[in-house]
Structures are given as C-alpha cells and as structure tokens.
Amino acid sequence: MPINKIVAGFDEAVADIPDGATIMIGGFGTVASTPTCLLEALARKGVKNITTVSNTTGFGSDVWRLLGYKFSEDMDVLVRNGLVKKAIVAAPVSTVYQNNFEKLLRAGKVEAEMVPQGTLAERIRAAKAGLGGVYVPTGVGTIVEKGKEKKVINGKTYLLELPITADFALIKAHKGDRWGNLVYRRTSRTFNATMAGAAKVTIAEVDEIVELGQLDPETVVTPGIYVDRVIARPKDVKVDDRPISQEALDSQAKTKARGSA
C-alpha cells in the first residue's frame, strides 16, 4: 500500500488524543505559526487535564482577529475552556496583556513550569534525538537551577536538562506530502520544526497538501519520518464575527504604543 499520512478531517486527526495527554503545540506565539484548526478540534473534543508544551500560552482569538487573521485561535482556546492542567512553557504570561492563562494561574487553577526558551527547544530536540539529557549554561545561578544537577565542565558550570517528551505534537507547516515531508514559510518554522518527531505522534496542519515529489528535496525542512499525520486547512473559512473584548482592544493600543505584538 502506498504510504498515506493524509487525514481528511480535523476531528479525525485528534480523535485518539485522550484526557491527561501531554501535548506539544508548535509555533512561536504568533497565530500564523500556530496549528489553529487542530487546537479548535481538540477544544471541540474537550480533552481534559492536559499538559501542554509550548512557547506561549496563547493570546486569544480576539487579539488576532483585530489584526485581521482568519485563522485566529491559539492555545487560549484550550485554556479558556478549562482543558489545561499544566503548561511547560517559556513565556507563560504576556507583558502587555493579561491572558486567560495568567488569570487561571493567579487563581491557582492551572500549573506552569517555566523553561528558558532555548532550553525548551533543546530539551524537545533531545527527546527527538534520543539523548538522555544535555548540559546547558542557561539558568545557572537563577531560579531555574532549583532541583537540577549542576556540573562543572572545562571550568564552566552547566545544568543537566532532561528531554521533554509528549504523547502528541500539533504543528503548523506550509506544505506537506503523503509521506509527511514538510516545508514552512519564513519565520513560521520555530517550535513547529523543532517539535516534529519529538512526540510519540506528530500531527501537521498545513496550508496545502502537494503530490509526493512536488517538494524540492533540497528544501524539505522536516523529513517525513518525523510526521505521522498531515491535514490541510480548509481553503475557505467563514468570517468569525464574535465581538472583540475590551481587553483585546486595550492590549492593541498598548502594543502599538510599545512597538511590539
């Protein structure tokens, strides 16, 4: 049988993700690099008590719709539906906006394990690459070193950081083929390419599915071996006309003033 990793529907793509699963969510925090439709499917399914691994905890659809995005949901769709038990994350809260994760965190309803961004990437890669752990200089002498083995190697102090594994990785790519080969667009590789292959099952949401052989072998970023399922975003998405919250409007104003998103 020809290998065929292409899945027809988003609900089908996430059907076997159980309550209590650990789930990597790709992207950097910008919605353009986020597997929006997979997250929405997960929210529809209502998986409970999940542990997430991601760079941010989501800003919410409002913030992105204000900027004109049609695919506008991010990790917030899981958070605000109360599905997240714990987040392993580099940036749990925003400096310009109190997101739903921060509200739940302050209310003691979610747990956060904060990991420096580069260490997060390296721990995820360690899982993919079959390493038992890596020694990083990041975090020495800070709150991050608590409970971790310290070792001096060639006169410099390092912390032992262990691999972060997961049951599923949900990632966003630009194009994919039936073998799971993926290319990305510009800065949307980020944690998407890093997480591909680091979980037991990797599911890629793509803008477009192409025939095997249409991706230039020199340009493939994620080899198909790291990917288990590929699913295309719908071409047409209906306009989301839910009202935009005052908080999101305020945050936009603040962001503009500061010169950051």
Partner: protein, 226 residues
C-alpha cells in the same frame, strides 16, 4: 531615595537607542530585545553593515512594517512584521538557540530591571507582579559575547537599578558588559563599574548618588556622544 533630580534632563527612548547603536561594529551579529533595544535597529552607524538575529528563527532582516502590513509569516521576536533583505535566512528554534547559546552573537541588547556591580542581570520578574516570563532572556544573557542593557537609571520610585546585589530574581550572573541608561553609560569590568559617559547637565556626583555601587570614573569620562 529623594526625587530631587526629577526635573533634570534625561535621554528619551530614541536617544538611548541611538547611543546603544553606536556599539554596533562592522559585521556584528546583533539580537535586539523588545522595547528600547529594538529601536536601535534604526540607528546603525552610517557605513556599517550589521546583521540582526531574531530568536524566532531568522538572521538578516530589514525594516519593521507598520501594524497590519507585511507578511504574518515573517516577524521578529516581538511579533512585528519585518522585511526580507538580500542575505536573509530562516531556521528552526533549536538552531536559533544554538546560535544564541553557542556564543555566535556579537551583541545582545535587552531591557533591564536591575544590574549588579558584578554584571548580574535581573530583567524578567517585577516582584510586585509575582509572575513573570523568562522567554529567551536567560539564553541571550549567557550566550551573547557582549550583553548591553538599556534601562532607566532608577525605578519610578527613584530607587537605583544599578545595585550592589540584585534583589530581584536573576536572569543570569556576571553577564552584563555595558549599561546604557537615561543619564549614563557604565561599563562592567573586573575591577568594578566604570562610568564612561554622563548625560548633559549631570555631574559625576549626581550620577553616583543614583547608583548603589561605587563607580570608577573613567579617565576619559565624557558627555554622552550621539
């Protein structure tokens, strides 16, 4: 601490960014944090070619688009859409932080909350907020060859941000090389903190008064040159 200096001249954000940019040498690879640092990209000294890195996976990018324009798939670490220039290249997150952690960046510029006499940096947790965000700050602080901090000299309550020992949660120890504030430029050396430049109208004594550790005045200490 008194606010007797509250009406004195201070460098504005753009001017601090301009001063920071003077540090960029020809061919430097530079990462700029959110806030004042990112403004420095507008002030690269004429005739110097500098390559900017952003931790979300790009080396070499051009100007920031105005909000709502540009390609949502091409942003800097602050989420602003930026432009492709000749020489741009993209990579994933673990490669981006190999570049950071592996000491390949010549300069990282970040905002700060406190900098200690030894160059310890605290910049991720405002104690009153209780919850902060580390992001890529710890990696950049340990990884960049030269870490420059751009921040106001004192807090809103006129407390010194340049301190003997940081009281806030640390980002990294002994990492800061240069501090550019709204009233001074201070170098962190093994001998101590060296006052290199002061803002117009300020005296050495006034700067010292707003600085916790004893400053060593550089023999060539001068007014901030822009």
């Amino acid at each position: 601490m008194s606010d007797k200096f509250k009406d004195k001249f201070r460098l504005d954000r753009q001017t601090m960014a301009l001063r920071v940019a003077k540090e960029f040498q020809d061919g430097d690879y530079v990462n700029l944090g959110i806030g004042i640092p990112v403004l420095a990209s507008n002030y690269v000294p004429a005739g110097r070619e500098v390559v900017f890195h952003s931790e979300n996976g790009v080396l070499g990018f051009g100007q920031v688009h105005t909000a709502g324009e540009g390609d949502p798939d091409f942003v800097n670490a602050g989420g602003q859409a930026v432009t492709i220039i000749p020489g741009t290249c993209f990579f994933d997150h673990h490669e981006s932080f190999s570049i950071v952690r592996g000491r390949h960046l010549d300069i990282s510029v970040m905002g700060g909350l406190q900098v200690s006499e030894k160059g310890d940096l605290a910049n991720w947790l405002v104690p009153e907020r209780q919850i902060g965000t580390i992001g890529g700050a710890m990696d950049l602080a340990v990884g960049a060859r030269k870490l420059i901090i751009a921040m106001n000299h004192v807090t809103k309550d006129n407390q010194p941000r340049i301190v003997k020992k940081c009281s806030y949660e640390l980002t990294a120890v002994e990492c800061v090389k240069l501090v550019v504030t709204d009233i001074a430029v201070i170098e962190v050396t093994k001998k101590g903190m060296v006052l290199k430049e002061i803002a117009p109208t300020w005296t050495l004594e006034e700067v010292q008064e707003l600085t916790e550790p004893k400053l060593i005045v550089a023999p060539d200490c001068k007014e901030i040159e822009l």
